[in-house]
């Protein structure tokens, strides 16, 4: 294991002094990502600017046996970019260039530190856009999106990062170049691109991403529909899909969520409703008029108590602004919030929401819900005060129970935020030891010594055994004793 001094001097051999940070005041900004409950100062932060420098950082760290944690904008919500105290935090923040945008081919080749929204901004003059739009899109980077296989509010129709990335270039921990996928379809051999997307920075460090660009729809309109019952709203979602409609976006917020949001952005939500649905159509003007009419008929049949259709683009964006600002809005009404990310078969929504309501009582914590209703991805937001250790403890117990409920109903512990450090224990619930062992073996194919983003996403079997004992005793949250907390 390399000492701080040996790592710093190895990196300074090819990086300028300003690109190698090791004083506490400089490394402090990197101690956590969007999951601020977990913090750890990295031993060293490296900020390379070229692919060759990335390769050399990796080679140097591999030679010294030092762990490397890659990081984009640090907006991740599962602690995937949480540093290790004995390792290098590899910031890709300087890789901010759009290298090539080919409107004829409908692709953009970008560096990993390019912000998600910046790709669509660069493509807009050509009438094109990059479809996945996570709520953090003004800040989050495409490299991070690739690591987490990020979704967004339009992924029911347009797919996840996985469906919109054509090619990745990067390096293994040993600094060996790898090039996965291609601009041409169906690259030969195993679909390693699918394996790399969503691998939480554990298989490779991505230095270049080729994404697919789509023609911007000519127009889009969104229906805001109110329901006097959350389960009715859930049934309305199924009714829309049963009618053969795939909306461009289909989102749900419950009353506590709309109230929090309305104070923050004044999106114009119906505050009387138990839940609202945002149901969007895009396409040509004729298609949109036709689809909006059909969706309104279905929603009305399903018991919508009120419906408002956006009249123009500013109004459409205003309706969405509330949904996209849901997390920061909740951050205003509570000192802290803890965002869950389970996905469930939609038909089990009522059951899971009742379960969450019961957990609110059990743990005496409030929990507004925002929900990518179209694809079953729940984002319950537990409100708590992190300065109160006991509240944090209750929050973790609450979250663990909800995620395990998602698994029980046939869903998953994470739809788009990743496992990171946050949900690593719940992996033991979702997968059996043989499956976890296979994940570890896949990891070793790419990273034999486990140096790249260690300790994330895939638990060791020993950890699972320990977690199993704790669950048996009903002490779920105590399973994070080794993690520093804020």
């Amino acid at each position: 294991m390399g000492s701080r001094l040996s790592v710093v001097s190895a990196l300074r051999a090819f990086l300028p002094a300003r690109a190698v940070l090791h004083e506490e005041e400089d490394t402090r900004p990197y101690e956590c990502d969007g999951l601020t409950a977990y913090r750890q100062l990295p031993m060293v932060v490296a900020l390379p600017e070229t692919e060759e420098q990335v390769q050399r950082v990796l080679q140097a760290c591999a030679a010294l046996g030092v762990p490397v944690v890659p990081r984009g904008a640090g907006t991740g919500l599962s602690g995937g970019a949480l540093p290790t105290g004995d390792g290098v935090l590899l910031s890709m923040a300087k890789f901010m260039r759009v290298l090539r945008l080919d409107p004829r081919a409908g692709i953009a080749v970008v560096q990993p530190g390019v912000r998600n929204a910046a790709i669509s901004e660069a493509a807009a003059p050509f009438g094109l856009f990059y479809a996945p739009d996570p709520s953090s899109q003004i800040a989050c980077t495409i490299g991070g999106n690739v690591s987490e296989n990020s979704g967004g509010v339009h992924c029911l129709k347009y797919g996840l990062t996985l469906h919109n990335v054509l090619r990745l270039r990067g390096y293994t921990i040993e600094g060996e170049p790898i090039d996965l996928g291609a601009e041409a379809p169906d690259a030969p051999g195993y679909d390693l691109l699918a394996l790399a997307v969503g691998s939480e920075g554990m298989l490779m460090v991505v230095t270049e991403v080729t994404v697919k660009l789509l023609p911007l729809p000519q127009c889009a309109r969104v229906i805001m529909a109110s329901f006097d019952d959350v389960e009715k709203a859930g049934e309305a979602v199924a009714a829309v899909i049963a009618a053969g409609i795939i909306p461009a976006g289909l989102e749900m917020m419950d009353r506590p969520a709309t109230h929090a949001v309305e104070q923050f952005v004044a999106a114009g939500y119906d505050l009387q409703a138990a839940a609202i649905l945002l149901c969007e159509s895009d396409g040509t003007a004729e298609e949109v008029d036709d689809e909006i009419a059909r969706m309104k008929a279905v929603l009305s049949q399903a018991g919508a108590t009120r419906m408002t259709v956006s009249r123009d683009e500013p109004e459409r964006l205003r309706f969405w602004s509330g949904r996209k600002a849901a997390f920061p809005a909740v951050g205003r009404i509570s000192p802290d919030y803890y965002c869950m990310d389970g996905t469930i078969p939609r038909k089990r929504l009522g059951e899971v929401l009742r379960f969450i309501a019961a957990m609110e009582k059990k743990y005496a914590l409030r929990c507004p819900n925002v929900f990518h209703a179209g694809d079953g991805n729940l984002h319950p937001l537990i409100l708590f005060d992190a300065n109160d250790a006991e509240q944090l403890h209750r929050t973790e117990l609450f979250a663990a129970e909800v995620l395990e409920k998602c698994v029980e109903v046939g869903g998953t512990i994470t739809g788009e935020h990743g496992v990171g450090v946050e949900k690593i224990n719940q992996m033991c619930v979702q997968f059996r030891p043989d499956e976890l062992e296979l994940f570890q073996s896949i990891k070793r194919v790419f990273d034999a010594r486990g140096l790249l983003n260690p300790g994330k996403a895939v638990p060791t079997l020993a950890r699972c055994a320990e977690y199993g004992r704790l669950r048996g005793r009903g002490g779920v949250a105590a399973a994070h004793p080794d993690l520093p907390r804020f």
């Binding site: 797919g159 298609e287 070793r444």
Partner: protein, 347 residues
Amino acid sequence: MTLEPFQERIRDAAARGVALRLRGGGTKDFYGNEPRGEMLDTRAYAGIVSYEPTELVITARCGTPLSEVERILEENGQCLPFEPPHFGAGATFGGCVASGLSGPRRASAGALRDFVLGARIVDGRGRALGFGGQVMKNVAGYDVSRLLAGSLGTLGLIAEASLKVLPRPAAERSLRLEMPQERALEAMQRWAAQPLPISATAWHDGELLVRLSGPAAGVRAAAGKIGGEPLEQAPWAAIREHTHPFFAAPPLWRLAVSTVAPPLPLPGAQLLEWGGALRWLAGAGDGAAVREAAQRAGGHATLFRAREKSGGAFAPLGPAAMRLHRGLKAVFDPAGILNPGRLYAEL
């Protein structure tokens, strides 16, 4: 119905070091390198496990006839959007996933792998394992189920898979235009940059076919923009299933290239699909020249149908990629008994 018979068979073969040839209906025996080993017929493990149209997911066992899956979807107004080719009666659901092939709608709807949500497999050690699930969004663990798509059974026996499904388009219309290849490629690129509901394209011998699918209003409007003459009986099924006369003359090469690649000056007849990203070459083809042309065009070539494939069916991998492939093969199938050589001689 249990996986135990498969598990036992695979454990036994692994212990004896005997190769197994995993096979469903045998409709894709021609695809990839020559199959070898003791036959393991997957068809006994059949049936639709779950299908709820409003969840947009179907889960079926590997031996289920692909036609049965498509029939039940059609009865519910839904479809497999990637239009998998059957290549004969008796194609199975498992074979469809294992071969990873997609049909005419691939350029607009996505490939088979884009619709894979989960899979249960028996690996080369006889272990029954499950990955992914039945929900649209799932990032827990590495995406093994999509890795299996197109792996030709070399990583595990795909016993069950869950695929995302979509509603069938409300309206469909096909158009025919006459133009040489170069102009057809330009036209397809121009259309691809616009929000048009093009669900398939095919160019062959001076004739460009375009299919529009979607809401009636959009299809009508797009047909006006594209022009050409309407076609009542468009040969999409014949192109998808290779019963179109073009595909009769071996050898058949499949070149996947960048859509912006110019016409490829190769001897033999060509049929283009997917907006120009897929170029079939029939009746000729010197292996090295075809592979080189595909590579220059930003892609790769597969020797799809041929009497003799001694040069390998698939484009060779670079050393770094091959190392990863071998590593993964060793993880899933340490004894190297599952469809050995079918994808690459080294796997």
